[in-house]
């Protein structure tokens, strides 16, 4: 029964290691203030940590540090400080402050997506609840921390969590569960040879096997624990603790001499009394008790009292009540029933006060043995308490299983969420990428289409010109054919007939006066003259071909004519320098056509011109096109960007030509266009 208490004293608090970066070497001058604050925070924290200062002073400093830290910007630095403040609050058992700070640390860590720190807050919570003996909450927090560390691949920290959980399961007598967790923790620590942690695990295993009466294994594991401890530099009083535990194993299996030997060995450490008075008292008490069990009662009463005094001075109630239990047994052994009952009852009431159920049970059991009058009552109490404890343990064990399950689910959910987030991010990223690609493809396509359109436009222009040309030449052909026909008709038909008639008249032997004959000859000659005239006409009809204007000029003339019919202006189209239009490409021609069209539209809209003159000439392979009107004119500077002029400028530019506009208000305007050919 005493084992429980001892066990608890052997639970070493394992805390997250907090590293505080007070000085950020990278900080600039502007960060001076922040740095100063960080410094003051670190000083305050140091003060609150110093065990030499009174508790209240330490608390005050911690609160101050917290208030300073609160004003910092939300970064990892602030979070680290907050975590440490929270941990110190736990150490000082400032419950509400701890809860507050740890919660804030959790929220900030969550915000910063700092999963290490989230796990650390769980750990802090676990420690806090464990100290408050709210085992299920402690277990939940350890388990959550464990899961996170596991994911972050933190072997050491996840091992420590397993160990903490193993201790809780040991406490509720779930030895198998505790054993499994311990071994899991050991496997984690083994990878990186964390001797101190391995020591703790093996120590716990030793305690477990002692509890289930497997003494050989218990001693074996305690020895392994001691071996690991040999590698630890700062041993503190752990070795004495282990010796105590081994002694207890021997005590339990009634190897009292071995037990006494181990206790004595532990007590050889003279500084123990000062460094760990609790353990010292415990060793004295256990040694005395073993001697009692070994029927060696010499001076053990003083030893029991000595231990009790030390424990009392440390206000270690659970220790005091164990001393009382041992004293009760001592007095029973000395047959001093009254004193035995008195100490037993005292331990019972103390156990009730501190809710120490196991020692409560031990006290009841002892009382039922030494107080025969109330034996039945004590035994009944013992049984009901034992039953309810057993029941509670059962419940807790089940609860732990549930906690594990629920936490797994919770972690899975978090993972799912984060994987969902990753998925969402991936999907949105790829969607954006696809959209961008689509946009580019579309853009490119529309560009291509534009180019195609431009090409098509050019083709259309050419086709247009060709059509114009074809139409023109058809018209011309019809006209020419008609002329040829008339010419032919005149030449072959009419001329021949007149000729034949004249000749036949000539061959008629006209009898008459001389005068008459002379007149006859005159008429014949006149007829011959008419023939000549007809022949000339016929020839001219044919030869008109040569003096024909070029097709292009005819097209232009047609265009200008239509416009002039609308607007009633007179026009003049001139070709100079024997322009050979065959030398000029269709592209230039069609653009000239369009330019004239555009210019005529301008004249049409604005100029109110009476005369328009269009002049083509050529010199040094440059085609000159002048379009002149006598309209109202315009301000060249102002209207430079008018759509009509802009279109002309664009076309000229396309042909690598130049283009000059001269105009004055009221004096008409002149467009001079030079196009290289």
């Amino acid at each position: 029964m005493k084992l429980f208490k001892i066990q608890r004293t052997l639970l070493y608090a394992l805390f997250p290691i907090l590293i505080i970066n007070c000085n950020n070497s990278k900080s600039s001058v502007n960060d001076e203030k922040t740095r100063a604050q960080n410094d003051s925070i670190s000083i305050l924290i140091k003060r609150s940590k110093n065990k030499k200062h009174p508790l209240q002073y330490r608390k005050n400093n911690l609160h101050k540090a917290y208030n300073f830290n609160k004003n910092q910007k939300n970064d990892s630095l602030k979070n680290k400080a907050l975590l440490e403040i929270s941990y110190i609050a736990y150490k000082l058992m400032d419950s509400s402050f701890f809860k507050k700070t740890n919660k804030e640390a959790y929220q900030l860590s969550y915000k910063l997506k700092d999963y290490f720190s989230i796990a650390d807050t769980y750990w802090n919570n676990g420690l806090f609840f464990f100290k408050k003996e709210i085992l299920d909450s402690a277990y939940t927090n350890y388990y959550k921390a464990f899961k996170l560390y596991e994911q972050l691949n933190q072997l050491k920290k996840s091992g420590i969590m397993l160990h903490n959980m193993a201790i809780i399961q040991n406490n509720i007598k779930d030895y198998t569960g505790s054993e499994i967790l311990s071994f899991q923790a050991i496997s984690k620590f083994n990878k990186e040879k964390h001797h101190i942690n391995l020591y703790r695990c093996y120590n716990n295993l030793g305690i477990i096997y002692n509890n289930i009466n497997e003494f050989e294994k218990a001693i074996k594991y305690h020895n392994i624990a001691l071996k690991h401890l040999a590698n630890v530099i700062n041993k503190k009083t752990l070795q004495e603790g282990s010796l105590n535990n081994i002694g207890l194993v021997h005590q339990k299996k009634s190897k009292h001499n071995d037990a006494i030997k181990h206790f004595k060995q532990a007590l050889k450490n003279t500084s123990l009394k000062k460094n760990n008075p609790n353990l010292y008292a415990k060793l004295i008490d256990n040694l005395a008790y073993s001697r009692l069990l070994n029927n060696d009662t010499v001076n053990i009463r003083q030893e029991f009292y000595k231990a009790r005094r030390i424990r009392d001075s440390l206000k270690f109630i659970s220790g005091v009540l164990i001393s009382d239990l041992h004293l009760s047994e001592y007095y029973r052994y000395k047959k001093d029933t009254i004193k035995a009952i008195k100490y037993a009852k005292e331990s019972l009431s103390l156990a009730k006060n501190v809710h120490n159920n196991r020692d409560h049970l031990a006290a009841l059991k002892l009382l039922s043995e030494i107080d025969p009058k109330n034996a039945t009552k004590h035994l009944t109490n013992y049984l009901s308490l034992s039953d309810s404890l057993h029941h509670n343990e059962r419940k807790l064990r089940n609860k732990f299983a549930r906690i594990r399950f629920e936490t797994d689910e919770y972690i899975e959910e978090v993972n799912k969420q984060s994987s969902e987030k990753v998925m969402i991010a991936t999907i949105s990223f790829s969607t954006i990428t696809i959209l961008l690609l689509l946009y580019f493809v579309r853009h490119q396509r529309s560009k291509n289409r534009e180019l195609q359109l431009e090409t098509a436009q050019q083709h259309a222009n050419e086709n247009f010109y060709n059509l114009l040309l074809k139409q023109q030449s058809k018209l011309e052909e019809g006209r020419l054919n008609e002329r040829l026909r008339i010419s032919q008709e005149l030449h072959d038909g009419v001329l021949g007939k007149i000729f034949a008639t004249r000749m036949r008249l000539d061959f008629l032997d006209i009898k008459g006066t001389n005068e008459m004959q002379q007149k006859f000859q005159l008429y014949l000659e006149e007829l011959q003259g008419i023939e000549k005239e007809i022949r000339v006409i016929s020839h001219e009809l044919k030869n008109e071909l040569l003096s024909n204007k070029s097709d292009f000029i005819q097209i232009i003339e047609h265009l200008v004519m239509e416009q002039s019919a609308l607007l009633n202006f007179r026009y003049q189209i001139e070709e100079k320098d024997n322009l050979d239009w065959n030398r000029i490409t269709d592209v230039v021609k069609i653009n000239c056509y369009r330019i004239i069209q555009e210019a005529l539209q301008n004249i049409n809209k604005h100029s109110k011109a009476n005369n328009v003159s269009i002049q083509f000439s050529i010199s040094n392979n440059i085609l000159l096109l002048n379009i002149k009107d006598d309209g109202i004119g315009f301000d060249v500077k102002k209207h430079k960007t008018g759509i009509g002029l802009q279109n002309i400028a664009d076309r000229v530019k396309k042909l690598n030509g130049t283009f000059v506009t001269t105009s004055n208000l009221g004096q008409g305007s002149l467009l001079r266009i030079h196009i290289p050919i």
Binding site: D492, L495, K497, D506, E525
Partner: protein, 221 residues
């Protein structure tokens, strides 16, 4: 008394009648002549006659005749060539309304007729004189033809058939790109001939139109 066999080829019956009258007029003036006259008005009939006849003394040949039914005789010019081939001694009087230099020149070259009359150039007297002259073995050319020949004598450069063809095609408005279809030369060849012609006429930088105008003035077409 020798009887002259005469073939009149003209699609105008009235004109044929005129020649007949002229011949009769000659014979009545000079009783020594006697004519046996045949008149045909198509190429086909003319060819038939030429092939069948053993000897023809005189032919009146019109140039503008409808094309023969088999398409091998395009005009009187081809008939004239055929007569020259078949009956080398036959005297031919070409009588035509054509008076453009190109055509006249071509006829002079291909048929080399004894008489060359441009209708409308002559009257009864001229016609009778022409017949008489030709029958007597003297050539007789109308004034227009004589003027043309004189103009050519004045030229100190040579313009051959292909040059003339090119000039002619240009004058009737044949496009440069279509020239290769009617002239048996490549485009390069045609261009170089055109350039040479322009050099001869001293109009290197001028258009084809100018060339045609000048060629016309000079009597090549």
């Amino acid at each position: 008394m020798h009887k002259h066999s005469v073939l009149i080829i003209d699609d105008h019956p009235l004109i044929a009648e005129v020649y007949e009258s002229a011949l009769l007029n000659t014979s009545s003036k000079n009783n020594a002549r006697n004519f046996s006259i045949t008149i045909v008005d198509t190429c086909d009939k003319a060819i038939e006659k030429i092939r069948k006849a053993t000897a023809i003394d005189l032919v009146f040949l019109d140039i503008s005749l409808p094309i023969s039914s088999d398409g091998s005789f395009l005009s009187g010019e081809d008939i004239g060539i055929a007569i020259r081939k078949r009956h080398p001694n036959t005297k031919i009087i070409v009588s035509t309304t054509y008076n453009d230099n190109y055509r006249v020149h071509n006829i002079l070259k291909s048929i080399n007729p004894e008489g060359f009359l441009i209708k409308n150039d002559f009257n009864r007297k001229d016609l009778v004189a022409a017949i008489t002259a030709v029958l007597e073995g003297k050539p007789f050319y109308s004034i227009t033809v004589l003027n043309l020949l004189r103009a050519h004598l004045n030229l100190d450069f040579f313009v051959d058939k292909i040059d003339r063809d090119i000039l002619y095609e240009l004058s009737i408005g044949t496009k440069t790109i279509d020239l290769t279809n009617v002239i048996p030369l490549s485009k390069g060849g045609i261009d170089s001939r055109k350039r040479k012609l322009k050099e001869m006429f001293d109009i290197v930088n001028e258009s084809d139109k100018t060339l045609v105008q000048l060629a016309k003035e000079k009597g090549f077409i």
